[in-house]
Symmetry: C2
Subunit: 228 residues, 2 copies
Amino acid sequence: MTTRRVNLNTESVDNYLKAIFALGGPEEERVSSTALAERLGVAPASITNMLQKLAASPKSLVEYESRRGVRLSPAGRLRALEVLRHHRLLETFLYEVLDYPIEEVHDEAERLEHFISERFEERIDAKLGRPKFDPHGHCIPALDGKMPAQHSKSLADIKEDGKFIVDSVADGDAALLKRLKAHGIIPGARLLVSSSSHEEFILRAGRAAQAFCLPRSLACAVRLRSSD
Amino acid sequence: MTTRRVNLNTESVDNYLKAIFALGGPEEERVSSTALAERLGVAPASITNMLQKLAASPKSLVEYESRRGVRLSPAGRLRALEVLRHHRLLETFLYEVLDYPIEEVHDEAERLEHFISERFEERIDAKLGRPKFDPHGHCIPALDGKMPAQHSKSLADIKEDGKFIVDSVADGDAALLKRLKAHGIIPGARLLVSSSSHEEFILRAGRAAQAFCLPRSLACAVRLRSSD
DNA sequence: GAAGCAATTTAGGCTTACCTAAATAAATTA
DNA sequence: TAATTTATTTAGGTAAGCCTAAATTGCTTC
Ligand SMILES: [Mn+2]
Ligand SMILES: [Mn+2]
Ligand SMILES: [Mn+2]
Ligand SMILES: [Mn+2]
């Protein structure tokens, strides 16, 4: 009856923790197997399997009760934030130092985040001057896992026309990101939002820029803050 | 009897090809299972297993005859050189751009070489100004796999005292590399070689530097060219 | 309160890349 | 040449991380 100890320092475990962190939201609610399966592109049975393994391990990275969803333990949260830090530092580095176009940084960072050393992390952080935000406008967690609360709101929740500042753009959809960029919709830009219909938003960034029609289904890709 | 096709784009396959390339030497001689097992830190049975897989695959990265050793096919050679290019570009990048100490670049590059994209490769190559040599003095293969012939000779083969230029230093042994660096023994340095005994070499780099005694067993870590 | 449904888990497999132990082939020595 | 040693391969496992198909559970709905 030897308790066989499993190796939890794998790319796969990192990705599970990151997904639980992201889906749990700021309230860190319990995340269902189905939601995880969908996000990770994996069969639900594989999720159950991994969660049981994670929960059973002495490191206890997650709190998991059968059929009641999962959430991160403090240790699991810290690890998720560590990987998120790698990801966002890498994105910033690829963008600032290696002149990647913004829509290509995400995929590269998604791979490399699991393999860089603490030294590499430290060196790019220093090279970049300890940045606080990545090129999409997302906050980079500190070394100790601290991250200031965000005060942005999703474009999807905007009910009335108005002027805003673009806070951040989602990093996952390269094609959309490229179109947003082409219309000047990048973090920090002034944005005029109007909604002609229930179907879409009309966005106008800066002054000279041409208007951009964004379907409501994609509106959650843009986050705003007030332009005072 | 379905011929199940195997995935050959793995870190492991890369490492096998690199090891065959390195052990085959400039003549690309056949490499034995035992030599590979030793180099890769793996049981001989695992070598046989992988070589059979590589040889059986339609891509045919290696030529392998049972009990007669293995060598790279043209495709396998190209892949090995591609990975070597990644490795040496990464080392140069870590050294030049991220200010790594020379003895730490190897391990980081050894991991990352398998995961960077062609874009990453291109960007660091451009950033570095298309370098021809890595920080250890090793030649960086071109994109098409071409690499000029080397004209250096191993310190281990030096029979008489004399003056030389350090051509390159081995990248694997971090502790040795650090000591060599401390005594000014780095690629491009002028080096006075004398051998007081059969046991060791006495090396003096530049002018003011203190002499350094290197056991003959480690002499293969330093390669020289004539100082005309 | 039983039936139906959706979410989740269990059971049984697969692939990759390792391992050890046993068998075999080749080379060396006597 | 026969015996011994060494190198290599075969045979049979293991662990991770995934899969599909078949239970099972918990909740709705009639
Ligand atoms: Mn880190
Ligand atoms: Mn980002
Ligand atoms: Mn490449
Ligand atoms: Mn090198």
